[in-house]
């Protein structure tokens, strides 16, 4: 029996700003992970990743990252992905400063 599929989000970096973005269910790139589409089907994840990889003039380096549903939407599983949702720990720079309503 295959192991249960770990849900995924599609994430990348924005071409101009370079910051982390996540693919939403309505095909937008959001700077907020909780707005991402949480994908729990492997085949659907592959299709969404292909879609993302074709957005060459918008994002760079799209990939699938493990995620789980939290109170406000998808949340990271790995600490690297958690850092990408907020920014560095030595200064209040990046998303933790840019997005104050999260």
């Amino acid at each position: 029996m295959s192991r249960a599929y770990i849900p995924k989000v599609v994430t990348a970096n924005h071409l101009i700003a370079g910051d982390s973005v996540w693919l939403t269910a309505d095909d937008r790139w959001s700077p907020v992970m909780t707005e991402a589409e949480l994908i729990d089907d492997e085949a659907h994840a592959a299709i969404r990743l292909l879609f993302a990889q074709h957005q060459k003039a918008v994002v760079v380096g799209a990939y699938l990252a493990d995620a789980r549903m939290g109170t406000h939407g998808p949340e990271p599983v790995h600490f690297r992905e958690a850092f990408r949702t907020r920014g560095p720990s030595n200064y209040p720079h990046g998303k933790q400063a840019d997005i104050r309503n999260v």
């Binding site: 970096n13 071409l15 700003a17 910051d19 982390s20 060459k56 690297r80 850092f83 720990s89 030595n90």
Partner: protein, 555 residues
């Protein structure tokens, strides 16, 4: 200092114009990322975790006041008001927007700086002893040779697609402050039996996944033979180096797998073929370059005021005891400005701090600044009578930390706070260690101690050659820190030994504290350094401090 010729200036402006067009084509969709990536990397532009990062070369670590002010301007205008100085004498801007980068490169070109070959499988920024041209122990200033190497390697058509990146370090002094034994090529100036200066040539050193101490391929190479000989090494490596596996592509593996003798045989054959092509033009260029590095006119003045200030102010005295090094000219000192205030990010300077350091260099330091591989800033030529005024200005800019060479003078790579290659964070560990030992008030009592922290196996933080090295890893989705002991970055270079299992993020600072307080109990006297105690006693008592205590705590 070297100032750009018309040729240099025109070359740089053309490169900026090319890159501006390439960025335009990337943004309008004519270039894919696969096409654009090698172009941006050639110009020092990386895409990191949260943003782009621009890595700018500071060749052989030398900056003028004007250049430092321009870095401050760039930080304010296109970044977040600070820059990060690295272990390879580069500065990194962590927050540029893609469309601004051509303007940043233009601003750099305006002051004779660039980001060319700060990435990619090319010859990278040539690094040098940060005390070059000033140190009392120096044979000759190595920077004219370093500048010759910069010109030779920049856009060298044969060496744009090497098997892997290639790093050269050079020192003119017997005391190695440039970590020459951990570079692809290390050059140490030495004298032969007739007293003539030349170079010991070291190849195949490197840290990273497979750390190796470089081996001496020539005990003494006359200065005039240096460029053809280096070209022979690069040519031999370019052909012999492996391209099938990036982890085995550095010259250290080429030398290791073939053996030094076989590699040297190839180099010697190539050298015999290349040597006649060097008709002396390189020596003419070197001599022209050397004129740019003429030492400043040192003044002769009394130092009574300095001596009186030392007697009157114990805090100033402590700073001078820690942050000064011996200068070759009477009455002068080399000042190290610490970018390691306890709790701050190692190697970071704000734009205001950069301007203060530029002003001090212009007013008191013959217009020279240096960046050390230890991520500090140096005023290489300061008359001692000016030290009280310099110290006062540094205090006002939060730059007067008296900790050079001590436990809080930690090298740390950006780690997972910025770097997309990292497996764990480095900066918070450095901040916590420095803060903890400051609280304990033990820093001065501990004495010379090098802690070096890398956030991944690539070892930008030089952890292998730290007296205490810390390597951040990802262990099953949790940050974990492995300790090495007994590393040495100097002329007696050594790779540190792993102690055993790693420590969780909340256990690493207590582990370092056990090591260091344990050392204080074991040392033969206050003058025996941590490294000396480790070498005298071996790893066993230090492993016991790390692991036995933990076992008893858990019991």
């Amino acid at each position: 200092m070297y100032s750009y010729s018309e040729f240099d200036d025109a070359f740089l402006r053309e490169r900026v114009a090319q890159f501006r067009a390439q960025v335009g084509r990337r943004i309008d969709g004519s270039l894919t990322e696969e096409e654009f990536r090698p172009l941006r990397l050639m110009n020092g532009l990386y895409l990191q975790l949260h943003a782009y990062m621009l890595r700018v070369a500071i060749p052989y670590g030398t900056l003028s006041a004007t250049q430092m002010r321009q870095l401050a301007m760039i930080a304010d205008r296109w970044d977040k008001g600070y820059g990060h100085f690295t272990t390879r004498q580069n500065i990194q801007f962590n927050w540029p927007q893609l469309r601004d980068v051509p303007d940043m490169l233009q601003a750099l070109a305006d002051v004779g700086m660039h980001a060319i070959q700060t990435s990619g499988n090319t010859i990278r920024n040539v690094t040098a002893d940060h005390f070059a041209g000033a140190a009392a122990d120096e044979i000759e200033d190595p920077r004219p040779v370093a500048e010759l190497l910069r010109q030779w390697s920049t856009d060298h058509p044969e060496f744009q697609f090497l098997p892997r990146k290639f790093k050269i370090a050079i020192t003119g002094a017997p005391n190695d402050r440039a970590v020459t034994r951990a570079h692809d090529i290390g050059l140490r100036m030495v004298r032969n039996d007739r007293g003539e200066p030349g170079f010991e040539v070291i190849v195949g050193g490197g840290l990273g996944r497979t750390p190796m101490i470089g081996q001496t391929i020539r005990d003494f190479l006359p200065k005039a033979e240096l460029l053809p000989y280096l070209e022979a090494i690069l040519s031999a490596y370019n052909l012999m180096g492996r391209r099938d596996n990036k982890y085995k592509a550095r010259i250290k593996i080429t030398v290791f797998e073939n053996g030094l003798d076989a590699f040297k045989g190839e180099v010697d054959d190539t050298y015999a073929r290349l040597r006649p092509g060097f008709s002396g033009f390189d020596q003419e260029m070197l001599s022209e370059i050397a004129g740019h590095f003429a030492p400043p006119v040192f003044r002769v003045a009394p130092t009574d005021g300095y001596d009186a200030a030392r007697r009157a102010d114990p805090v100033f005295r402590s700073w001078t005891d820690t942050n000064l090094a011996a200068h070759k000219a009477d009455g002068y000192a080399i000042v190290s400005i610490s970018l390691k205030k306890q709790g701050a990010t190692p190697g970071d300077a704000t734009s205001d701090q950069m301007r203060v350091m530029a002003d001090l260099a212009e007013r008191y330091g013959h217009d020279e600044l240096r960046i050390s591989h230890e991520q500090n800033v140096i005023l290489p030529h300061v008359h001692k009578s000016d030290l009280p005024a310099i110290y006062a200005a540094l205090l006002g800019a939060d730059l007067a930390t008296a900790n050079i060479g001590l436990i809080s003078d930690i090298i740390a790579c950006p780690g997972m706070d910025y770097c997309s290659l990292a497996t764990a964070r480095s900066i918070p560990i450095a901040q916590d260690i420095a803060t903890r030992f400051d609280e304990l008030g033990l820093e001065q009592a501990i004495g010379p101690l090098k802690i070096k922290i890398s956030g991944c196996i690539n070892a930008c933080g030089h952890h292998h050659v730290g007296h205490i090295g810390i390597l951040g890893l990802d262990r099953a989705g949790v940050e974990n820190y492995q300790i090495t002991l007994g590393g040495d970055h100097t002329e007696t270079a050594a790779i540190g030994e792993k102690t055993g299992p790693g420590f969780a993020a909340d256990a690493i600072v207590p582990a370092i504290e056990r090591l260091v307080t344990g050392y204080l109990d074991l040392r033969a006297g206050p003058d025996e350094t941590f490294l000396e105690t480790y070498r005298r006693l071996g790893a066993a008592p230090f492993k016991a401090m790390l692991y036995d205590t933990e076992a008893s705590d858990a019991a």
